[in-house]
Point group: C2
Chain length 344, copies 2
Amino acid sequence: MEAGQNPNYQIPTRALSNVYYDEKSGLIKLGRSKQKRQFLNLGQAKKFMQSLLIAERIKWLLDQDKTLSIRQLFYTLKHTIGDTDENTFDTQDESNPLIEDVEVLINVLRENLGLIATPKGVLAGPIKIKDMKSGDLLDFTRMGSAGGAIPAIVEENVFQIKECSADYILVVEKYAVWNRLNEDRYWKKNNCLVMTGKGQPARAERRLLHRLSNELKIPVYIFTDMDPYGYYIYSVFKQGSINLAYFSEHSGVPSAKFLGFSVSDVKDFDMPKSSFIKMKDIDMKRLKEIQNYDWFKSRGWKKELEELKKFGYKIEQDALVAKSIEFTSNTYLPTKIDNKMWID
Amino acid sequence: MEAGQNPNYQIPTRALSNVYYDEKSGLIKLGRSKQKRQFLNLGQAKKFMQSLLIAERIKWLLDQDKTLSIRQLFYTLKHTIGDTDENTFDTQDESNPLIEDVEVLINVLRENLGLIATPKGVLAGPIKIKDMKSGDLLDFTRMGSAGGAIPAIVEENVFQIKECSADYILVVEKYAVWNRLNEDRYWKKNNCLVMTGKGQPARAERRLLHRLSNELKIPVYIFTDMDPYGYYIYSVFKQGSINLAYFSEHSGVPSAKFLGFSVSDVKDFDMPKSSFIKMKDIDMKRLKEIQNYDWFKSRGWKKELEELKKFGYKIEQDALVAKSIEFTSNTYLPTKIDNKMWID
């Protein structure tokens, strides 16, 4: 300002127009388009100042080596300015997108800035992880019937993989299915890790799966319901999501395989008709949307989605218990994995 | 039938008309009203047979010593009868209420019948619990930044409390607040257990809190947002809920105290105006509903609810970080507990 210049910075554009599926890496990514944000600009001055306030608060948080949710960060930021009636921030709608701006601006995930999202998932199997915050060595073969909770921050500096003998990682959509596998000691009998994000996964489960895949270099199999929502959960783990394109680059697992439930399984495993659930208009609509995503256009996926449309019924992964209580553990999963019956 | 009689059984009525707040025990309970269900009755025959099918499946589940979700149980029950077009069950709406019927009929919680609901919560602090299913001894002081996951079934035969030196149990509504307390090692500095159900608790967290309170005989403090929804979460832990009146008798903690956030805290802790959130019509409506619940009619609660109405603003427990990042751990909670600043 004193030099007669207009303070400014450039940030990668986080709009849909700047998000694309990168076929080479197999990930949803942010493009190269950038936006300039200037201080001496009536339309940008507030956001400019708010962004600096956020950056300052993050520095303050890092100095204390503490973590906060983005809602808590908002509360530490929100205050009335001097003697005015003006607030730094009025609602979280103002701070959330600017936090994402800061992430992409400095190219660091918010988890590395001490900002947490509530995790949901659990993990079991032959892996030992050192929690550097508490100093605890977590043994995921000794976590009882609950499994080990996945913490909000699973970055390397706080969650260090010390030992892992697993041959692969199995991710299941639903807790009830994870619970059956854990009860059957599936992870012990098959020497693998079994994880669930309890439906649509939170950031922590996506980021952890990415790290496990990258660092352990073992296959990742994803097992969901046979419906557009299950397929989408698979794609969020694998290629990421449009909304969080920046995060997707750092959380995707391009090598992940879709193990099932798939339309060919209906015949292959002789599923009873009582497990079929008629697809409604809303399911068909979602199916069409998924057919249009660039990352569902491989030969295998084109076929699967067409066949689901023709079949007209959904099948939940839970339904496999109708065959027998241990059918998933003893028959379905080993058959699928041994015979490479997956979609890529 | 052969003796010329009409097979029948009687079950406690699970309708709103048979639910009441029992002031003496401080719990929401089922009344004494019962319903007869007969086989030779056109309107009841289907339900009668369905109930027997459920009972048979539960026996089958118990014999295997396995657990299923109620959705999975439904899948093991659903099939076409003989050569007819008739299904045993068409949707889960048919099996769910009959499962509850079986619970109250034989006076056993579904968790003891091997039926699970997805748990959500985590726990940290000086307690050791033996998981009898896996044989693991779980030490909740060594669970890292995630805390220990609460399993779906926390019944005595599978989740045995072996050791606990805690002086009290603190339940917090939100994960972000639990995360800050765990990060500050609040449970270590204050020798207590700190638990969260991540918002509205699941069955497992309610049942575990009940067991901890009953078996350890230590105080339970509940800390939520200052709004009708936070107050309600407290009451679900304490007195139970109308929907699950039968479960409430076995999960409530009548001695639990409401620690905050309460209207008097606004002045006592000099909360900044920036943390006030204007109550909307929908919040006021919910507040009125809560004022009408019999279990919110103690002197303390009448005053609190009136004062919230007058004040007209909500305050979230997260907002305390606006004071300072460790304010909740170092000032707010110790002050409230030491000075018995709670509502009963």
